[in-house]
Symmetry: C2
Subunit: 515 residues, 2 copies
């Protein structure tokens, strides 16, 4: 504010007002002054270790000397950066939908052009238009068809909404149940420990009360009903429990739940009046030969009776995982089961204020989705059909991606378990291993001196010495006194071998140093 | 829960526990049980009138007879659905970035291929990868370059973050300043009345206190400092004022602020310790020959002294508006000025939990942005340069879009003002007209009987009788006792004539009926 203006105002208001109206100094908002829910939010997958890795990568580019020549990023499920090749058909459909002049080009196969035409008709002719807030109608219809094929039970487009990645859908559901009240009236949300940190971050954001339940590592990260009961009982004094989050296949833990286990969880939710948020984004990533993916919706249906018609379920799916791995498109969906229609209407009203999710992300999600694993080909709508020009290439690319992942899942498990002090449960599904580390007492003391959790200490040294970037277990939460890290299984097979070799040497040196 | 299990548990816990543990009936979450902030959220641009229009459109498709053969949607700034043609160059770059096999095709011009190559290098080779949470680095660099050209003062990529449309950026800023406290400690946010309902909706979501300040309709929706002072003083008993939102060019009101007016607003913000949120998404949509776009950042800079280095400013821009109109890509950015670096770090941490905005949306935003209006061509980075193959077509398409809009801005203003009872201020910028209606007393009584605000009554009848869909003023808020509606100026020129003709006939009939 200019001095002349001060004078003007003080003259106008007279002496008494002068004191009252005299401008305070302008004070910027400080960290102490921001929304406390945002201050306490943490998200380890992109935390300090990852920031450091980005810095080292820049240093390497600048020609700085390091004991390694590249960063191997195993911190995030970012499939294509790790070398996974996009499915050509998805990209061809999107390219011609974006630039419709390519309809005349022989570079795009005819079946891709057909799919693009169908989509363009449904969005008023341009991918640059807003869609409905819940998503493009034909995309929701296709998703309903996909779910019907997967589960063998009806699905309605009215119960499906699209989102900017499954993450946004999770935020809307956890926001919807927040109570805005304090103390014991806060909404309680049960989440697995270890968990994907989106959950703890979102609970912070909405000031929900976190009820952690431990997965049992020794039995392959299984989900025990007794544990759920125990943690819920403990939490009742502190909150109003409203939601149970289950991640299946597990992130960061890689387990795949059995049908019986899911049934027990749903009965528990019914008994305790909980809405179930089923994070099923890895439903195509199953590697264990003795496990299948069972959706919460299908198990709920088969339970029958009141449970089947009462338990509220929100199931999430994403274009970022599976064989698609199209993270950058930000396509995700959520199916609502047994929601009060008025509550659904309120939720959809809230979606409308953010207009719509990215249109290409919506489309990306469904171009290839309608050919899930192990399903008959003749009923699919969108992926190439037998006889169509893109069919063979599509199948070849898809099975290449999934068989490579299965190979690497086996590889990391077995190599980790050969290292002294490593304990790695089977990687049945998803894209991660979460080995437990037994570290020598001297290492524990060194970590303490460095003022770090022992796993952070370990993975920091791993990064600095070898360029391998993984996320410490403390970022996902874990049983007190145990130490883990999460690594993706995404780098290409040969890179994965390099990574395991660097890690193996590092570990043996580490043990030598600290024994 | 199965009966056998009940029995098992009751035996185990004994008689006393039986009563305590006996399952309640499962109760679904009701509307009364959801997050009250989400319950009170309203967003008129996609409200009931629009839902009704979608229904009528479906009825028409089914062959139902109506007094009109099409819905003309003037409810939302959805450029391409209204007929605006996408800029070919943007789409070509995106197509070849999605399907890199097109690098070998003659269907894509060489300059588009070059831009795609540069982008692909910056995202690890695939648009399917996650970007940094704040956005792709080269995109942020390009945006900084754009801002430097626009304002002639430095901009840093560190102060820029990308978002899923400008809407998401607005939500992050208004979330950041929320206090989570009740009563007079709630964060107060000043917003114009009329306003774009994203603001009131987001304030509901974060339980911020809304401080509405009226724009002065008679003087072309100008922003008066006395009004700001008055409303702020009134509000101080009810909240802790933290933010001043200004929309320039105005939505729904279409005014363009003068440099002096912006300076006065910034001095007011400085005096009162307010962060300024400048919604500048229509910065390319200026039609009044005597007005230029002045960014808040450049005016702030020119004020000099403490003001220039102290006032916190967040400025929003979008790929959805301007000559691009790429709404479906959901690309937006926010530039932070004078933020405490620690606060900025907290904000960026929160961005990381949603991983990243859609990668193509980020790219879309910048492909054409570096050729803003009235700027020299030789300094631009991304749009085609003179001599490049796409240059002429790019310029022709861009000026076609902007000159059509200018023509329609003039057209609606003059036609509205020919109708008895209509008062329409000049449409200086943005994409909307917001005429005021004087309705006869008989119409006011009929609206009252129908239990609707008079403008809702009017636009509902307009939709049912003519198929023209506009949004009632009550959805944007307005001075008590005044009635308006917002119409876009987006339909093609000939459609715009049809729309104005239908509306004119309707209005004269309406006056006859209610006089």
């Amino acid at each position: 504010m200019g001095p002349s203006f001060v004078a003007g105002r003080s003259l106008f208001y007279g002496r008494v007002s002068l004191a009252l109206n005299f401008p305070r100094n302008y004070t910027k908002i400080s960290v102490q002054g921001i929304n406390p829910n945002m201050r306490k939010l943490e998200y380890a997958v992109r935390g300090p270790i990852v920031q450091r890795a980005i810095q080292i990568e820049k240093d390497l580019l600048k020609g700085e000397k390091k004991p390694f020549n590249s960063i191997i990023k195993c911190n995030i499920g970012d499939c294509q950066v790790a070398g996974q090749t996009p499915i050509s058909f998805i990209r061809q459909v999107i390219a011609v939908a974006c630039d419709t002049h390519l309809m005349d080009s022989s570079a795009i196969p005819s079946d891709a052009k057909e799919r693009a035409m169908r989509f363009l008709r449904s969005v008023g002719g341009s991918v640059g238009a807003y869609s409905q807030s819940t998503g493009v109608e034909v995309v929701r219809e296709d998703i309903a068809a996909y779910i019907e094929q997967r589960d063998g039970i009806p699905a309605s487009p009215e119960n499906i909404f699209l989102a900017t990645g499954a993450s946004e859908a999770v935020k809307f559901i956890l926001g919807l149940v927040a109570t805005t009240k304090g103390g014991s009236q806060r909404a309680g949300v049960m989440i697995p420990i270890p968990q994907y940190p989106l959950y703890s971050a979102t609970l912070s954001e909405f000031n929900n009360y976190q009820i952690g339940y431990y997965l049992e590592e020794e039995s392959g990260w299984s989900l025990r009903e007794e544990e759920l009961e125990k943690r819920l009982t403990e939490a009742k004094a502190h909150c109003e429990p409203r939601v149970l989050v289950v991640i299946n296949p597990g992130n960061p833990t890689g387990q795949v739940l059995t049908r019986d286990n899911i049934a027990a969880v749903l009965r528990f939710a019914h008994r305790n009046n909980l809405l179930v948020l089923a994070d099923e984004v890895y439903q195509h990533n199953i590697y264990a030969p003795d496990r299948d993916f069972h959706s919460f919706k299908s198990v709920l249906h088969d339970l029958g009776g009141n449970i089947a018609t009462e338990v509220q379920l929100a199931s999430m799916m994403s274009a970022s995982k599976g064989f698609m791995g199209e993270c950058g498109f930000r396509g995700g969906y959520c199916e609502l089961v047994n929601f009060d229609p008025e509550v659904r209407a309120q939720l959809y009203k809230c979606l409308s204020a953010r207009l719509c999710p990215p249109v290409l992300g919506q489309w990306c999600l469904i171009i290839a989705l309608l050919m899930p694993l192990k399903l008959a080909m003749d009923v699919v709508v969108n992926p190439p059909r037998p006889g169509e020009p893109s069919y063979e290439q599509f199948c070849a690319e898809k099975s290449q991606v999934l068989s490579d992942l299965a190979k690497k899942a086996k590889l990391v498990e077995s190599l980790f378990n050969q290292l002294p002090g490593y304990h790695c449960q089977p990687v049945m599904g998803a894209m991660y291993a979460f080995p437990r580390l037994e570290l020598p007492p001297k290492a524990m003391r060194a970590a303490e001196l460095a003022n770090m959790p022992a796993d952070t200490f370990y993975v920091t040294k791993l990064l600095e010495d070898t360029g391998v970037c993984v996320v410490p277990g403390s970022g996902f939460s874990q049983k007190p006194g145990t130490f883990h890290f999460r690594t993706t299984i995404l780098p290409k097979v040969d890179q994965m071998h390099v990574m395991m070799e660097r890690l193996g040497h590092f570990h043996l040196d580490f043990l030598k140093t600290y024994s």
